[in-house]
Every structure is written in C-alpha cells, then in structure tokens.
C-alpha cells in the first residue's frame, strides 16, 4: 500500500469514528446534567472523537510525507484540514466547558464538511509556482484554524437557537431556523447524490460551441440543466433539455448549476420526508431533547469561541496572508475577492464583539450573529473559490 492510500484510509477511519462518536453523544442527551458529565457514554463519545481526530491527523501527516508539501493546496485538502480543526476546536471547548450536547452537533457538521470536501478531486497535485512558499503552510493552516474555531460559535449558536426559539407558534425565527436546517440537509443530499452517481460511474458529455471554438463538457450527474447552447453527445443519456442561462459561460458553469439544482432538489426531498415523518418542524422535533442544557453556558461558548478564534483568524487570514502576498506579488493587499471576503469575515466578527461587549447583544441575538458569521465563512470557502475565483481559485 502506498502512502497515498494509507493516508486516505486514515481519513476514512476518522470519518467513521466521528459517525460513531455522534451516536454516543446522542446517547448522552436526555440524561440528567450532573450525571452525564461523568456518564459512561460521554466518556466513550469524547474518547472516540479524540481517536477520530488522531486518525484525521495521521491522514494529514502521511499525506504531507507523500506529497512533499503541506496538504492544504487544493479544495479537498483545505476542507479536510478545516474539518480537522473544527474537531480540534470542539475538543478544546469540550474540555473547558464539558458540554456534551455540543458534540452532538459539532461532529455531524464536521462530517458533512469533510464529506463535502471529498467530492472534489482527491489526487495529490503538484504545487504551482505561486504556492511554492513556506507561507503556504503558515498562512493556510492558521487561517483555517481561525475559521474552524469561529465555526464552533455557529455550532453553539445552533444549539442555543434550537433550544430557545419558541416553537409553539410559527415566526420569523422558526422559519429562518428551518432554512438553516434545510441547508444542512441539502449539503447531505449533495454528498449522497454525488457519491451515488460516482459509484455508478455516471457520465454524459455535451458539446458546447462558444466563441467559435467547440469544447466537450462532462457531466457526472444526470442533466437537469444543460450547458448554454450545447448538444448532448452521449447517446441515450438523460437530459431535460433545459439550458443554463446565457451569462453562465464559465468552463464548468453549466455543470456547477446542475449540481446545485440536484443538491437543492434532493435536499428538499430529504427535508420534506423528514418533516413528513416528524410531523413538525425539524428544530421543534429536536428541541425537547435539549430541555436540560444550560443555555447561559451555551451562550458563553458562542462568545468564547469568537473571542478565541478572532485573533487566530486575524493572524492567519489577514496578517500572514498579507506577508505572503507581499513576498509573492509585491503587494500585501490587492482587493482580490478572497482577500475581500477575509476582510468581510473579520469586519463581521469585529461587529459581533462590539455588539456583544458594547451593546449587550447576548443570547438569541448573539446566536443569530454566529449563524450569519458561519454563512460568511461558507461563502468565503465555497462561493468565492468556485464562482468568484480570483488569484485564490485553487479549487
């Protein structure tokens, strides 16, 4: 077995261990508070999480050996690292606050993130000249760690909102909370759909004529929407015949839009079925399980993880980033989309801290801010890399 395979197996092991850990964390809720701290299942749960983290770390180190550079050089590697740091952040917060319910949410979110990253090409790719710098490992790892710690505040915020938002009547808050839930389902749906068709080796090819040149475009999901002005080439392959709008001209714009539609539709089905089975809002179904948690403590975790993550994020995503940009391009700041979104993230959490400390935004308000903050981080990770793609378009 070569190093690449070994490292991939470790990642898979981590993935499975996090799944098992989630189940054990699930077993801890509903137990009485004092009891569950020392309860067996919470001990097992955190042990499995640490074991999973160790496997995850092994993946990282072995892959580093195999490739000769820090494995944070493409979308898959970055997300895998981000997921790892999310787990690390959770473990640290766990040992400060001993809050098991956090694990029940942190682990599945980490699983979804790792799963999402695994849908991108996983081969070890060589470093293009612009990435050949020791600042790659310093900048990217610090920035990802900062983002991961900040994401813990989202996990805590989600717990807070599910426990706190009044589910007896329908309100703006319940609706938004369900929208958050829906996106979690859609991410899961994306992973399921992509993996299923990958296992089936599904492929269809379109030929697209653009600016007098003809090119082939591969689809790995059945075409719900075709690339703009294209012809189906693969005989007998499924296609609705609908075309992507004209302004979507990027190489893979059609394929990306198709994947997005698939994820949203499948997410809708998944979410709808869940609603049908539960016969109530998803958050409302989870709420009773969280009746015993200490909301003040969760509120403090929301704030603490921002307080811990903010300096790390500043250091990695702004300061180290600027130093590297200065080395590579001779300008430490250039208003590249990725840089702008790092600034947007930073400004947002700066506002979060000011509102919390200066204007007394605690509890629910803080929790909603944490959710918005995570949305910005995800935009930075997904939308900016895949759609706005400037200098950082390493995906």
């Amino acid at each position: 077995m070569d190093l690449y395979t070994i490292s991939s197996n470790f990642l898979f092991a981590a993935f499975i261990l996090y799944l098992i850990g989630t189940l054990f964390f699930g077993a801890t809720i509903g137990q009485k508070r004092q009891q569950n701290i020392k309860s067996k299942s919470s001990k097992i749960a955190i042990s499995i999480t640490i074991l999973g983290f160790t496997a995850h770390l092994s993946y990282f180190i072995i892959r580093w050996f195999a490739s000769g550079h820090a494995p944070v050089s493409n979308m898959f590697e970055f997300i895998a690292f981000f997921g790892m740091m999310l787990i690390l952040g959770f473990i640290i917060i766990y040992f400060i606050y001993r809050e098991t319910v956090l694990g029940l949410f942190a682990l599945p979110i980490a699983i979804l993130i790792i799963g999402y990253g695994s849908m991108f090409p996983r081969e070890i790719s060589p470093l293009v000249p612009s990435l050949q710098s020791y600042w790659l490992k310093i900048h990217v790892t610090t920035a990802a760690t900062g983002e991961a710690i900040l994401s813990i505040s989202f996990v805590a915020g989600l717990v807070y909102l599910i426990a706190k938002v009044d589910q007896t009547v329908r309100s703006k808050h319940t609706t938004w909370l369900e929208i958050v839930m829906f996106f979690i389902f859609a991410t899961a749906a994306f992973i399921i759909v992509t993996t299923t068709f990958e296992a089936m080796n599904y492929q269809s090819v379109f030929t697209q004529e653009l600016n007098e040149s003809v090119r082939d475009i591969e689809y790995h999901l059945p075409a719900l929407i075709e690339p703009n002005s294209s012809e189906l080439k693969t005989e007998g392959a499924f296609s609705t015949g609908l075309e992507a709008p004209e302004w979507m001209r990027g190489d893979e714009a059609g394929s990306k839009l198709n994947t997005l539609i698939w994820s949203l539709l499948a997410g809708f089905v998944l979410y709808g079925l869940t609603r049908l089975i539960l016969r109530k809002r998803v958050a409302a179904a989870i709420q009773p399980k969280l009746s015993r948690i200490n909301l003040d403590k969760i509120d403090e975790i929301i704030y603490r993880s921002v307080a811990i993550g903010f300096p790390v994020f500043t250091l990695g995503a702004l300061i180290f980033a600027s130093i590297w940009a200065q080395e590579a391009w001779g300008r430490f700041w250039g208003w590249d989309p990725k840089e702008v979104w790092a600034l947007v993230t930073w400004l947002f959490y700066a506002a979060f801290l000011h509102l919390r400390l200066g204007a007394g935004w605690h509890g629910e308000k803080s929790a909603w801010l944490a959710v918005i903050g995570f949305t910005i981080i995800m935009i930075n990770l997904i939308v900016v890399n895949l759609i706005l793609a400037g200098l950082h378009s390493y995906a």
């Binding site: 195999a66 490739s67 000769g68 400060i96 606050y97 090409p121 081969e123 070890i124 790719s125 060589p126 470093l127 293009v128 000249p129 612009s130 050949q132 710098s133 600042w135 302004w247 001209r249 200490n294 909301l295 003040d296 403590k297 403090e300 704030y303 603490r304 307080a307 811990i308 903010f310 300096p311 500043t314 250091l315 300061i319 600027s322 200065q326 080395e327 590579a328 391009w329 001779g330 300008r331 430490f332 208003w335 590249d336 989309p337 702008v340 979104w341 600034l343 947007v344 400004l347 700066a350 506002a351 000011h354 509102l355 400390l357 200066g358 204007a359 007394g360 900016v384 706005l388 400037g390």
Partner: protein, 539 residues
C-alpha cells in the same frame, strides 16, 4: 463642571453611573446604563462617566458624541462590510482580463446587472471616494471611541476602593450571603486568592481581590494598532514611501528600471520555464487529468546595474553591476530599497534569430543569413561576394487595407522581404512569413532554406519600493497584542463585604463567567463562605 458627590465622600464627574470609589449607583444617572430596569448592575466601563454621555451643547460636542457611539461604529463596520462584499459581485476593473473597455465589458459579459455595476462605479469600488470615506470614518470613530472610554475607565479602576456600597455588591451577577464567617475563613480566602495571583486589598475588613486588570486595556491597544495601520496606508499614498511600476524585459535585453529616475537598469539574461514531469510518481494521478503541462517554475535570471555617471536620457550610460540573481515567484530580487517581482511571462513569444541557408545557382553553399529582428542591420555579407539586403521588415505581420503592415513593434510574427545579391549582379527577392519562404522573383536560381529559429521569452517584472511596510507590521503586531490581551485574559474581581453579622460575597468579570465561577469555587474551598449564585441564570 458639575460634580456629583457620593455619600462615601468621593467626588465623581458628571454622568457617572456608579460611584468610582464605592460603586453606589448615582441616582439620577441610572437610566444611562438601564440599571433602573434591571436587577443587576450594568458593569460596562465600570459605570464611569463616558464623556459622550454628557449633555450635548455645541456642534463639536454633538459630532464628538456621534463618533463616540459604539452603535455608530458598528453601523460603519456593517456598511463597509456590505460595500466590500458588493465589490466582489463582478471582477474589479483590474481583474477583468479582457481587452474590451469597461464601458462595454460589464454589460456584454453580465448583462443589465453588469451595466448597473459599472454605472455605479463598482468596478473601481475600493478606490472610490465614498469607500475611502467609509474607512476614514471608521478611523475617526476608532480614535474618538477610544479617547472617550479609556480615560474614564482608567479613572474608575484607579479610584475603586475595597469598601464598596452594599447595593453595589448585592446587585452583582455572582453573589452570596453567609452568616458566621470566622477570621480563619477570611484568612483562608485571602490565601487562596493570592495563590491564584489575585491582588488583594483590604479596608475596614472589606476585601477587594483583583487580577488581570491589564486585560481591560486590550481593546484600546488594538485600536491603536488599527490606527497605525490606517496611518501607514495614508503614508503609502506618497511617492517617497511607495512606488510601483511594471516592466517587460526580453531575454538578452537591458532596460531602464521604471520609478528609479533612470538610475537603475535591469537585464534579463535568461528566462527559465519548467513544468512538472508527468511521470512523477507522486503527481501522476493528478497530472493525468491535466490537458496542459503544469508549470513548476517561472524564473528570470537578472542582473541589476546602476548608472555610474548620469547622462542625458537617450545616451548610453556607463553601467555598474549592483546585484544579480534569480527572480522567481515568491522570491523577489532586492536591490537598494527596490524589489523586482516575477509577475508575468510571454513564453517564447518573440523571434530572436531566424536563420536561412543560401545556396547559389551551382548548388554551392554561400553562407547563412541570420536575421535578428531587433538589430538595426540591413545588409548581411555572405561568402564569395554574395550578400543579403533586407528591404522590408514587419515585426508582427498583418495585411490591412493599406497593404502589408505590422500590428506591433515586437517580432512575434515577423514578415521579411529580402534580396539575395550575387557577385555578378544577379538578384532575387524572397518573402519570409511564418516559417515559410516565398520566392518573389521569376527565374529563380538560388536556393534559400529556413534553417533555424530562436524564440525568446519576455518577462514581466513588477518593480516596487515600499517603505511603509514596517509601519504596517508595527500596527499589526500592536493589534495582535491588543486582541490577545483583551480576549485571552479576563479581568476578574471579587468583593467581601461584612455587614452586621453577615458577610456578602460578590464576583465580577468582563467575560468568561464560567471560568470565574470555577475559580471562586476553588477560592472558597475550606472556608465557611457560601458559594455564589448566578443571579442572572434563569435555568
């Protein structure tokens, strides 16, 4: 100025919420921090008199109060955030990678929304006057907010006395009452607190234990860092601090370095372009899917010269080598405060030499004609009295309405018309274009063949001088110290307040209550004092 005298005898500034010395709420000011509506005291800025909260009289005071408000600060941050995000909707003008002028590019590429984006000036958003104004307003807010809070807070913390008013102690978030506390308990508590590095002060049996007060200055330290960064970006607008330019240097060419007042020249000795080996075991899986080679190196081997003695521009100066080295991505070449960065390449895009072999009517070789597009030479002598004369040369050949022409000065697609003259006066004309030779004369006796072509690479270098960098770095370091100080340490205080036969005990921290609770638990260990209740806890 109107002063407020507290019953403890301390004289407070106008607008004080909690007496600086004893903490007793000052009656007429409780609305400021909403204390009148709550059970617990609002401990923000320790109830000190923020000067923006005083009565606003003049326009200056009103403006001051405006910028001093956290609410305004957050609004400014939010507006900047939204504006910055909007600018990434479509590429900024500098990133548009299209030859179309912006007036057409945005509409053609993105339709009506693109047109609006352009018409609103969002294609140059980050250098627009209004965006810069927003950032400047944040800067103003930073300065005024800090001045307005740090001074009263400092005064409040300096003036605080161990002996606090009963109301102050009772209305803290962490609070307990205990009867029958012995002197031994007190001693034990003091010892425990000292072991946890609390500074303990006593007054008439009242105790104030405090640690990490410096954490309270964190926000102001980081604001100073940010202000330094903003100052640095102002400095950077001046040429003596920062210049930037771009120069294309072809292999073998020596060019004046822009922005150096014609003082420096740079030569591109050789350009190296390397790609990853497709058979490399580590990367072969990934490279299999790549249509084009993946580059592994862009490198200019450069020599930098300084002008020895100034000459009038246009004349050839005498040059003196300053430094030589490799310029690669991530490895700029530095010389005398300037840095040269590898920023662009036109890979093997221009002809350096085009070689022809020429045979006479007897089939004998009469020598090679090596045409060098960038050399001012018209007549090339060959052997045996033969020669070649270049009559027309088009560096980048094209046909326009007016006949053959060139679209640039660079030999990217040279077209050459030349005559081959024999010793006996016989002459033939040829046309060369795109690796093809066409005889223009009838009765062709000579034989002209293309032997070889040599292509060179043009290397694009960014030339920078930036003396503002250390200022930015200092600002960034101060900012980091400030945020770490403010967010990684916590200002914690506990009070012991004997009253009658009871002892009141209270604790306060600006954050991480959970940590304080644990610490109080440990400090009370071995004493008879009751553990504090979280008076805010609702669950």
């Amino acid at each position: 100025m109107k002063k407020v005298k507290c019953e403890c005898g301390h004289i407070n500034h106008e607008g004080t919420v909690l007496c600086e010395a004893c903490g007793k709420p000052i009656e007429e000011n409780q609305h400021i921090d909403n204390n009148d509506k709550n059970k617990l005291l609002n401990m923000r800025y320790d109830g000190s008199a923020r000067r923006s909260q005083t009565k606003k009289r003049t326009i200056v005071d009103k403006t001051w109060a405006f910028f001093s408000s956290v609410k305004v600060g957050v609004w400014l941050i939010a507006l900047t955030l939204i504006a910055a995000a909007l600018g990434t909707l479509y590429p900024q003008e500098q990133f548009k990678q299209s030859r179309l002028p912006s007036s057409q590019f945005y509409e053609q590429e993105y339709g009506i929304t693109g047109k609006i984006f352009y018409q609103l000036g969002f294609h140059n958003l980050y250098s627009s006057w209004w965006f810069i104004t927003l950032v400047a307003l944040i800067g103003i807010s930073l300065v005024i907010c800090s001045i307005d809070r740090v001074i009263p807070l400092h005064r409040a913390l300096k003036n605080q006395k161990p002996k606090r008013h009963e109301i102050f102690v009772k209305r803290q978030r962490f609070f307990s009452e205990t009867e029958g506390v012995s002197d031994k308990d007190r001693e034990m508590l003091i010892q425990n607190l000292k072991n946890r590095r609390y500074k303990v002060r006593e007054e008439d049996g009242h105790i104030l234990a405090e640690k990490n007060r410096f954490s309270r200055w964190g926000p102001y330290v980081n604001h100073i860092g940010l202000i330094i960064i903003l100052v640095a970006s102002i400095l950077r607008m001046f040429d003596f601090m920062h210049t930037e330019d771009y120069v294309w240097v072809r292999e073998g060419e020596t060019k004046v370095v822009p922005t150096t007042d014609q003082q420096y020249y740079i030569k591109n000795e050789k350009f190296i372009y390397e790609v990853y080996d497709r058979n490399d075991e580590r990367f072969q899986e990934a490279l299999k899917n790549e249509e084009f080679d993946v580059p592994s190196n862009f490198q200019t081997n450069a020599v930098v010269y300084k002008v020895k003695e100034e000459v009038i521009p246009g004349q050839e100066p005498e040059l003196e080598e300053v430094t030589r080295g490799e310029i690669r991505l991530n490895h700029p070449l530095k010389f005398d405060g300037y840095s040269a960065y590898q920023s662009g390449t036109q890979l093997r895009s221009e002809y350096e030499t085009i070689s022809f072999s020429i045979k006479n009517s007897d089939g004998q070789d009469v020598g090679d004609f090596n045409f060098k597009p960038n050399v001012d030479k018209r007549k090339y002598e060959l052997k045996d009295g033969y020669n070649v004369v270049v009559t027309d040369y088009y560096p980048q050949f094209e046909i326009t309405e007016e006949g053959p022409s060139s679209s640039s000065k660079f030999p990217r697609n040279p077209g050459i018309i030349f005559e081959v003259n024999g010793p006996n006066g016989h002459s033939e004309r040829y046309f060369y274009l795109n690796e093809d030779i066409v005889a223009l004369s009838e009765d062709q006796q000579f034989n002209v063949n293309l032997e070889d072509t040599k292509l060179i690479t043009a290397s694009g270098l960014t030339i920078k001088k930036d003396f503002s960098l250390p200022v930015f770095l200092v600002g960034a370091i101060i900012f980091m110290i400030g945020v770490a100080q403010g967010l990684y340490w916590h200002h914690r205080r506990v009070w012991l307040h004997p009253t009658g036969n009871k002892v009141l005990f209270a604790g306060h921290t600006n954050k991480n209550w959970y940590g304080l609770k644990n610490e109080i638990e440990q400090a009370l260990e071995g004493t008879n004092i009751n553990m504090v209740n979280d008076q805010q806890e609702k669950f």
